[in-house]
């Protein structure tokens, strides 16, 4: 019975058409749909699909190329930077050692100058001191002479004013004093030097 239907029901009275013989309207509408869809794919879908896929792969390939280029540039920049850094370090080291040397020189210079100034000041002070002492000694000699004379006069009971004998006594006495004081001076100067 199925076979009968498959091969065409026309033999059974034509109530049902065969499934193996196409109806004209099915061919028309099916063919029309098919043609439209085919035209759409042929003219619209596939061209656009290929275009966008090609564009995309081009973009990706181009992007990769650009990335490689950028990477090369970055590597070059890094190498350059490293070289510069190396130079800068060497320069810094050179400047540092130079500065060290300069510092030593400057310090030496300053020390030397300070020593000279100190020596000059000391010399000057000693000269002034010596001058002062000479003056003081001269003054003292006069005053001490007068005081001693006065004292001696009072003790002896007679005025030993300006006669030659009295002066000779006084001079001898002061010379004795001077010898004692110059020994004391030499000791004081030695103490200053130290």
């Amino acid at each position: 019975m199925i076979l009968g239907q498959l091969l065409g029901a026309a033999a059974e009275g034509g109530e049902q058409p065969s499934i193996l013989f196409p109806a004209i309207y099915d061919i028309i509408w099916g063919g029309l749909s098919f043609t439209i869809v085919m035209l759409l794919f042929w003219r619209f879908v596939l061209p656009r699909f290929s275009a966008v896929v090609a564009e995309r792969s081009e973009k990706i390939a181009g992007g990769i190329q650009r990335a490689e280029q950028l990477q090369d540039e970055a590597a070059a920049a890094l190498a350059q930077y490293r070289a510069q850094l190396h130079d800068a370090r060497a320069e810094a080291a050179r400047i540092r050692s130079q500065a060290e040397a300069d510092r030593e020189a400057i310090l030496d210079q300053a020390r030397r100058e300070a020593a000279e100034v100190a020596a000059a000041i000391a010399t000057q002070a000693q000269a002034a001191l010596a001058l002062e002492r000479t003056k003081v000694i001269a003054e003292l000699r006069g005053e001490v002479g007068a005081i001693a004379l006065d004292l001696a006069g009072r003790i002896v009971g007679e005025a030993m004013s300006d006669d030659a004998r009295a002066r000779a006594v006084i001079d001898r006495f002061i010379d004795g004093l001077a010898e004692v004081s110059s020994v004391a001076d030499a000791g004081a100067v030695a103490q200053d030097r130290a």
Partner: protein, 270 residues
Amino acid sequence: MIATLSWLLPAATSEDGGFTPPTVGEFFPGALFFANTPFAITRINLIMMLMAGLLCLFMVVAFRKPALVPRGIQNLGEMMVDFVYKSIVEEILGANGKRFAGFLVGLFFFIFFFNIAGILPLIHISPSSVIAVPMVMAVAVWVVFNYVGIRKHGLGHYIAMNVFPPGVPKPIYLFITPIEFISTFLLRPITLTIRLLANMMSGHLLLVLFFSATWFFLLESDGLLKIFAVPSFLMGFAFTLFEILVSLLQAYIFALLAAVYIQGSLSEEH
């Protein structure tokens, strides 16, 4: 079990007022418009227009403004087209395939959209299950692969290379030549047609059978028999899933064979 088998035979049980199994009448709905003219429109013809329209709409939306970074529908459309393009056109035809890409990819999508209508709710019948549709497509494939072959090799050489396979002892051609001729020029379109048609028809009949049986058991049978509605429904559900696979597979096979035939016409030796 015997009763189940008897449903496979149309009209076997309808007389006793019980279950009415599907018949091939399913594929001959009455005309809705323009009855008795060549332009009659049946329900199936409406489905053809609907599915073709949906396919066109989908593709137009997907490829209207192709962006470099595809998203949404464009992404989906591209993925599908790309799959068909790679697995059929490039796989079989390689670099030659670009010329035929529109035809082959279009063929795939047309068949798939027509096939899948068989399980869509409210539609539930595939336009591929009326013979006109597979036949039109098979004829189109036949025309294309023969045209391509004749264009490339010339009519005489094209036919000769198809019916005189090289490397065969001369007397054997007596048998081989008619066989090759029939298989290449007659059987190819017929097998393309029948393979798709039979798959879609049987799928539809199985679905109708299981779901109408479910309906019958649930509403019209007595007592314990109602329980059979459950396996019947599950079978119907399983076959619905199976039909999705069949829809894809048949579209793939049809387009793949079309590509193989075109490749055969293009190649130097056969």
